[in-house]
């Protein structure tokens, strides 16, 4: 074996400890203005990181209140209408201001241009504008939620949202509408970058899988978000005008709103999950020291998910009153989406097989993702079946299912990606022990929170109620206990990651011995990422395999 790169193993600290470069994107300029007017994709990613983390904590606080209230069957902690406002706030903040933006705008913004070997995104100013749009939308929504709140749930179903609700529906809708344009502009920016800014030699099939999944995500952001924007405008108009197109008094159809809403809101699940899958593909190969199994299948599975994801939305409306014929079609199509998702899971497993696996923190989170996402996906298949869905519709079974996908999937993968690229973003290593501990706590806390909810739902506990029959108490207490463990798991990284900024060891350009252009530049990277435009001559995961087979 050559001593330059010991393939098959994570390189240990060399004789000379890694050093931080003299100038990098963080210290090239100082001051508030240099941040608020920056067009550097890396600084914008940090701006997003701050905004999104703050919103995550707010959404988490709402979840905490919900779980505390559900400790007792009579829900003594909160009055019913406060409870309604809290679960609405939780859903609205977590979906639109955390889960949808988190991976694309934080990790995508930071890593995507470097992965393609570009100096920046195609439209750097637009990128900054996106952040401002997002922030303005976020502030308006938060104001609406704090000053009175909204009690429609995150789904804004008509005619409740248009006629009956007496809460801040219109300001909330305006906030979501505005932040939607930040999604659209981010998607547009990514697609343009991936088409036109790739480094010489970076062909489509040499792109890391995170880029494929980012592309698929961007397509969804670009083509689904406008329909949500319009659906929300129609709700707002009907509320303000007192007359509108979902109004049953005129012969309007409230279910039409659900069509428009879910045309966006089903595909948006893949906005949350596709980039998460991309992260996991990067990490699994890196810490198995093997090229990904079936690269081309994993790549095209992302595109397949993005397109098929648009054909299944009415599986949220099986009991809403749509035609029976149409429900059957949507049920069948929903099964179809499972195929590309399963391809990915099988390929990750095959990549792990006979790999030289090391359990670094990002890998722990990524493995957690695979386990929880698989459970979320399989219960999704149960829900795609018309008959089962009739039984468990609007119960905690649904809640458990989509939290397995969104928290067990997206948040887990986001944590994986954050820990994977943190050394690149900050140039510092975090505490190995504390980070592994937090991965463990999150996994255990998650299972304890959401596994009982499957049972609760199957036994018939409906969602969105602030009281429940006493026989459900044990399972609810289990769930609440799990949530408090989960909260510790999420707060821990906040501490050691911030701590690492001051006391962490210098990471060096490539602490994980990973492939990919982003690791070939110093950590933290220089303002324009690369001193010379890199030239790509090989595929993305050139981890040599022959040495590995000799190990055992």
């Amino acid at each position: 074996m050559s001593d330059a790169i010991v393939r098959g193993f994570v390189p240990q600290a060399k004789a000379r400890p890694p050093r931080t470069p003299e100038t990098h994107y963080l210290n090239v300029e100082y001051g508030v203005k240099s941040w608020l007017l920056t067009t550097d994709h890396k600084r914008i990613a940090i701006l997003y990181l701050i905004a999104v983390t703050a919103l995550f904590l707010l959404g988490g606080a709402a979840a905490t209140m919900i779980r505390l209230n559900l400790m007792t069957p009579r829900g003594e902690l909160l009055p019913a209408d406060t409870y309604n406002k809290l679960f609405s706030a939780h859903g609205i903040i977590m979906v639109w201001f955390f889960l949808v933006p988190v991976v694309p705008t934080v990790l995508g913004n930071f890593i995507l241009p470097m992965m393609v070997g570009a100096r920046d995104l195609a439209f750097p100013k637009l990128n900054l504008i996106s952040w401002y749009i997002f922030t303005i939308g976020g502030i308006i929504t938060l104001w609406a939620i704090l000053a009175g709140g909204v009690d429609t749930g995150w789904t804004f179903y008509t005619p409740f949202s248009t006629k009956a609700a007496r809460t801040n529906v219109i300001p909330t809708i305006i906030g979501i509408f505005i932040s939607g344009f930040s999604s659209i502009l981010t998607g547009l920016n990514f697609i343009a970058t991936l088409h036109r800014m790739r480094a010489p030699g970076m062909t489509w099939t040499r792109m890391p899988l995170f880029l494929w999944s980012s592309y698929a995500t961007s397509v969804i952001l670009l083509l689904a978000t406008p329909v949500l924007a319009m659906a929300l405008i129609l709700v707002g108009v009907e509320r303000a005008w007192g007359i509108g197109i979902f109004d049953p008094d005129l012969g309007g159809d409230p279910i039409l709103f659900q069509h428009l809403f879910w045309f966006y809101s089903h595909p948006v699940v893949y906005v949350m999950v596709l980039p998460a899958m991309g992260i996991v593909s990067e990490i699994i190969t890196c810490f198995s020291r093997k090229p990904i199994f079936g690269y081309i299948f994993v790549a095209w599975a992302s595109v397949g998910i993005a397109v098929l994801g648009f054909l299944v939305w009415a599986h949220h409306m099986f009991v809403a009153g749509q035609s029976v014929y149409s429900a059957q079609v949507f049920s069948a199509l929903s099964y179809l989406v499972a195929v590309p998702s399963a391809i990915k899971v099988f390929n990750w497993t095959a990549t792990l097989y006979k790999g030289s696996i090391s359990f670094e923190t990002p890998m722990l989170f990524a493995l957690g993702f695979i386990a929880l996402f698989t459970m979320g996906g399989l219960t999704g298949l149960m829900l795609a079946a018309l008959g089962v869905d009739m039984h468990v519709h609007d119960t905690y079974f649904i809640i458990a299912h989509f939290h397995f996908i969104m928290v067990g999937g997206t948040v887990m993968a986001y944590m994986a990606g954050l820990h994977y690229w943190w050394p690149k973003m900050t140039g510092r290593m975090y505490s190995d022990f504390l980070s592994k501990l937090s991965a463990l706590i999150i996994f255990v806390g998650f299972i304890l929170t959401f596994l009982p909810q499957f049972v609760l739902g199957y036994l018939g506990m409906p969602r969105r109620y602030h009281v429940y029959p006493p026989e459900f108490q044990i399972l609810n207490v289990m769930s609440s206990a799990g949530a408090s463990i989960l909260a510790v798991g999420y707060l821990l990284p906040l501490i050691y990651l911030i701590w690492s900024l001051f006391a962490g060891k210098a990471a060096g350009p490539n602490p994980w011995g990973a492939t990919g252009l982003e690791w070939q530049t110093p950590s933290p990277p220089p303002p324009h990422n690369f001193d010379e435009t890199p030239v790509v001559t090989s595929g993305p995961y050139e981890y040599a395999t022959e040495e590995i087979t000799d190990v055992h």
């Binding site: 570009a118 659209i184 343009a192 036109r196 005129l250």
Partner: protein, 228 residues
């Protein structure tokens, strides 16, 4: 590349790449716009098929003359817009200025006609929630369902209103171009700004091309419908 010094932003390799990306960016935004309007068009189609007779009855009451004249006005503005792009590329600043101002002029003309039309709609009690007479529709022969008629009119205001918002944005962009043209920064090498605004302006025109048959021409007209 040396001839384009200062023209190319730092993160692009050359001017061709930059122009390509700029046009592609606007086209992607227009794809988004297709779905923004598409959502309302879909909703409209659902009811148009369900309540065909009532929608046709309501459509016949709209002012087809003003609708048609406004279509021609917008098409003319599209012509002057594309001539503005041509003038930029051909390096004729005076022609460019004239074309931009004409485009704005036709845009404002559209609003003039639209204002007259909205006022007349109000006079004729065609504004649900504000001035509307359900009895009038029930007494017609054949009678029309006043609820469905209101539904149609709600679509009329939402669709034309959404289109008008886009027109206002477009006129804002054109004003920005006029400002740049005055400062002389719209040289033939920098024609993409005009081209990209043009793409947006033409798209808004295309939306109106479909609003005309959907809203104004859904039912059979009589010669007496042609009035201001």
């Amino acid at each position: 590349m040396s001839t384009n010094r200062g023209l190319v932003a730092h993160h692009f390799e050359d001017i061709e790449q930059q122009r390509d990306v700029e046009a592609f960016g606007m086209w992607m935004f227009l794809a988004t716009e297709i779905l923004i309007f598409g959502a309302v068009f879909t909703a409209y189609t659902v009811y148009r098929l369900r309540y065909a007779a009532d929608f046709e009855a309501a459509s016949s009451k709209l002012n087809v003359l003003i609708g048609s004249i406004n279509t021609i006005v917008l098409l003319t503005s599209s012509l002057t817009m594309v001539l503005a792009v041509h003038a930029t590329r051909a390096g004729r600043p005076k022609m460019l200025m004239i074309c931009l101002l004409l485009t704005i002029f036709f845009g404002l003309t559209f609003f003039g006609f639209k204002a007259v039309e909205y006022y007349e709609d109000y006079e004729e009690a065609l504004v649900p929630g504000l001035r509307f007479d359900p009895g009038e529709w029930a007494e017609r022969s054949p009678p029309a369902n006043a609820g469905h008629v209101q539904l149609m009119l709600v679509f009329y205001y939402i669709m034309t209103g959404l289109h008008a918002v886009h027109m206002i944005v477009g006129i804002g962009l054109l004003t920005w171009l006029v400002y740049r043209a005055r400062r002389g920064t719209l040289t033939p090498a920098r024609y993409m700004a005009v081209e990209v605004v043009g793409l947006y302006w033409h798209f808004v025109d295309i939306v109106w091309i479909f609003l005309l048959p959907l809203l104004y021409l859904a039912g059979t007209h009589r010669a007496s419908d042609l009035h201001f």
